[in-house]
């Protein structure tokens, strides 16, 4: 645009005294009249649950919106899962927005009522005992029950077991399960059948997390009430809305397999922190008839994937077909060149869709001479962010960089200098040193679109953020 056009382009030609369209005096609207969609937009920006809690207490209208926002965030906090979250242990610490926690410990000792929502005391079909539509079950064994203390103030709920003085958890789900959108199982044992029947009661579930869940126990203690002897052959997946699955540390692999069997076709985000991560490909097409099975594409909706170990079958047969945008491969130490080779091959197959790539691989030996040359021609047109441990040979890194034609941010994790000189760190000096290093190693030259290099002392996403340096590209002189 030309400078002449920079004249003021807003011109008020008449003032407010002109003919009024509304004869009545302008009534100023109050905040209570703010439309729901706008209030939602504002409250959605709050990232502290305490603030959202305050909003719940303002009035009925705000409370209803705050609850909706809370429910949305429960699942939404999952959605922006960032491949650079990296670390193994992270998953355990990731409890999303306020989740009602029930522990079997409480069952034995009697609940401290004050900690639990009042609504729980009088649960019935119409009321929702889960204020944020999320639930975390901790340490439950095969005997699933709630003690009667839950009910003392209220009326006797349906399913209340008069002789035994408790409500079975399965009954609670039967009555109120449709309210839940998020379920977290922590530190307990379940039988796949049990899991299936629980999930079946929760048709609106969107996200599921399992951490430290073992396989065990008989399918519920009350067999006669239990619908299935076996998970039916031609079942439909129990929760059709479930799109986010996170399997944490030390979770039984048979359970994993079952969950994937049920949900693989609908998953958008899948994180697996448990190894070995096994995917039984052969079972998937069985659900459809024989003719279709040939064209069956497993994981066809998957966009975010975090996996721990390289697993050949998975890499070669499944994932290359799906539109993965965010990929995190956590592998720890690389011991064999073959591992690296298979990972590189795998990543190359996703080159068309990847937006964010995170490789947590520590390389302890010199492998830069073995770069497979034929791959130099595979480019990644969408990749914006790349995170990798900072112990790679610079030449190997440049091999990556030159193919990432749109890369904007490079993150180097586990930088030893930042890590070990934590106390006597002179930032200016270190920055200069890094700048020189990046110049020498030609990162800026190999990747023209690169704007920033971040150097991190720790693995990204660890509990407390460690020291990090951000170095921007210097403006060129010409």
């Amino acid at each position: 645009m030309t400078p002449q056009k920079k004249v003021s382009s807003v011109l008020e030609v008449t003032n407010g005294a002109g003919p009024s369209l509304t004869n009545t005096a302008m009534v100023r609207k109050g905040w209570s009249e703010l439309p729901k969609e706008l209030l939602t937009m504002i409250l959605d920006k709050l990232d502290n649950r305490l603030d959202l809690n305050s909003c719940r207490g303002v009035n009925r209208y705000w409370k209803s919106v705050a609850i909706q926002v809370g429910i949305k965030q429960t699942v939404a906090l999952w959605k922006p899962w960032d491949p650079s979250e990296g670390a193994f242990q992270r998953t355990i610490a990731l409890l999303p927005y306020p989740t009602l926690k029930l522990k079997s410990f409480d069952v034995r000792t009697g609940f401290q009522q004050a900690y639990y929502p009042v609504a729980f005391n009088k649960f019935e079909r119409t009321s929702n005992p889960f204020p944020t539509n999320s639930l975390c079950l901790t340490s439950f064994g095969p005997l699933e029950c709630l003690p009667k203390t839950y009910l003392e103030n209220g009326r006797v709920a349906p399913g209340y077991h008069k002789q035994r003085n408790y409500i079975e958890l399965s009954n609670l789900f039967q009555i109120c399960g449709h309210h839940l959108t998020y379920l977290h199982l922590f530190n307990m044992k379940v039988h796949p059948l049990q899991l299936y029947s629980v999930l079946e009661q929760m048709p609106n579930l969107e996200a599921l997390t399992l951490t430290t869940v073992g396989m065990g126990g008989s399918p519920w203690s009350y067999k006669e009430e239990y619908k299935y002897k076996n998970v039916p052959k031609n079942y439909s997946p129990p929760c059709t809305k479930l799109t986010h699955l996170r399997i944490g540390n030390r979770t039984n692999s048979s359970l994993q397999e079952k969950l994937l069997e049920w949900f693989e076709s609908q998953l958008i985000s899948f994180e697996c922190d448990s190894h070995p991560c096994r995917f039984i490909v052969k079972n998937f097409p069985d659900r459809n008839n024989e003719e279709e099975s040939e064209y069956y594409v497993p994981f066809r909706k998957l966009e975010r994937l975090k996996i721990l170990l390289a697993w050949d079958e998975f890499y070669h047969d499944i994932v290359p077909f799906v539109p993965i945008k965010y990929l995190s491969v956590v592998l720890g130490q690389l011991v064999d060149y073959k591992d690296l080779e298979s990972i590189l091959e795998y990543v190359d197959k996703l080159s068309g869709t990847l937006v964010h790539l995170h490789l947590y691989l520590e390389i302890q030996y010199n492998i830069h001479e073995q770069i497979p040359l034929q791959r130099v021609y595979v480019v990644f047109p969408k990749l914006k962010k790349f995170a990798i441990t900072d112990d790679w040979e610079s030449s190997l890194l440049c091999y990556f960089l030159q193919r990432f034609t749109k890369l904007e941010t490079l993150q180097l994790m586990n930088n030893s200098e930042l890590k070990h000189n934590h106390d006597n760190l002179d930032e200016g000096e270190l920055r200069e040193k890094m700048e020189k290093r990046f110049e020498d190693e030609n990162y800026w030259v190999f990747c023209n679109s690169l704007k920033t290099i971040e150097v991190h002392a720790d693995t990204l996403g660890s509990e407390k953020p460690g020291k990090f340096l951000m170095i921007n590209r210097k403006p060129t002189l010409f």
């Binding site: 645009m1 003021s8 382009s9 807003v10 011109l11 008020e12 030609v13 008449t14 003032n15 407010g16 005294a17 002109g18 003919p19 009024s20 369209l21 509304t22 302008m26 100023r28 609207k29 109050g30 905040w31 209570s32 703010l34 439309p35 706008l38 937009m41 504002i42 409250l43 920006k45 709050l46 502290n48 649950r49 305490l50 603030d51 809690n53 305050s54 909003c55 719940r56 207490g57 303002v58 009035n59 009925r60 209208y61 705000w62 409370k63 959605k79 922006p80 409890l95 306020p98 989740t99 009602l100 926690k101 004050a114 900690y115 639990y116 929502p117 009042v118 609504a119 204020p131 944020t132």
Partner: protein, 169 residues
């Protein structure tokens, strides 16, 4: 320079360049409908905004003018990025622009920005409101936004109890 007349609810008329007006989604469609319905391509479009009064309209146009050279943010930016675009648009000028406003004006500005589909302005105003909520108690929020509690019976107490376990986690 092609102009467009934008008229507020209380009758004040603003002459705005079409290029500037088109940065508002609403005005853009209005201008386009006008073009289609009018035979004379030279005619100056006139748009009445019945829900926004002059004072607010002036502020919106002022903001648009200041930001006329910003890249237009795609509507679905939020989903792609998750965060960041709100901070991106927050300049010193914006802060000075918003500083003297009381919350009543901000509220009207939010409604106007929403009605006129000016995403950038909507973002910074919502952000401002969010900052007014952060760290406040229930009573402080009620006072700031002139809201009254309409809870009945023990509802308020119940909400407080429900909140308690959220904190315990």
């Amino acid at each position: 320079m092609a102009l467009v007349r934008v008229i507020s609810s209380d009758g004040a008329a603003f002459l705005v360049s079409q290029r500037l007006a088109k940065r508002s989604g609403k005005l853009k469609t209005e201008i386009e409908t006008f073009r289609k319905s009018s035979d004379n391509s030279e005619a100056q479009p006139e748009i009445r905004i019945v829900t926004i009064r002059a004072e607010i309209l002036r502020l919106v146009l002022q903001w648009l003018q200041q930001h006329q050279n910003d890249p237009v943010l795609p509507a679905n930016q939020n989903e792609q990025d998750g965060r960041g675009d709100a901070e991106m648009g927050q300049s010193q000028w914006d802060r000075d622009f918003l500083a003297p406003m009381d919350l009543g004006i901000v509220m009207e500005l939010i409604l106007a920005a929403n009605h006129l589909e000016v995403k950038g302005l909507l973002d910074i105003t919502c952000k401002l409101v969010e900052s007014k909520i952060t760290g406040r108690t229930v009573d402080e929020i009620r006072t700031a936004f002139k809201l009254k509690s309409d809870f009945k019976g023990n509802e308020e107490e119940q909400t407080r109890l429900e909140n308690r376990w959220c904190v315990e986690n």
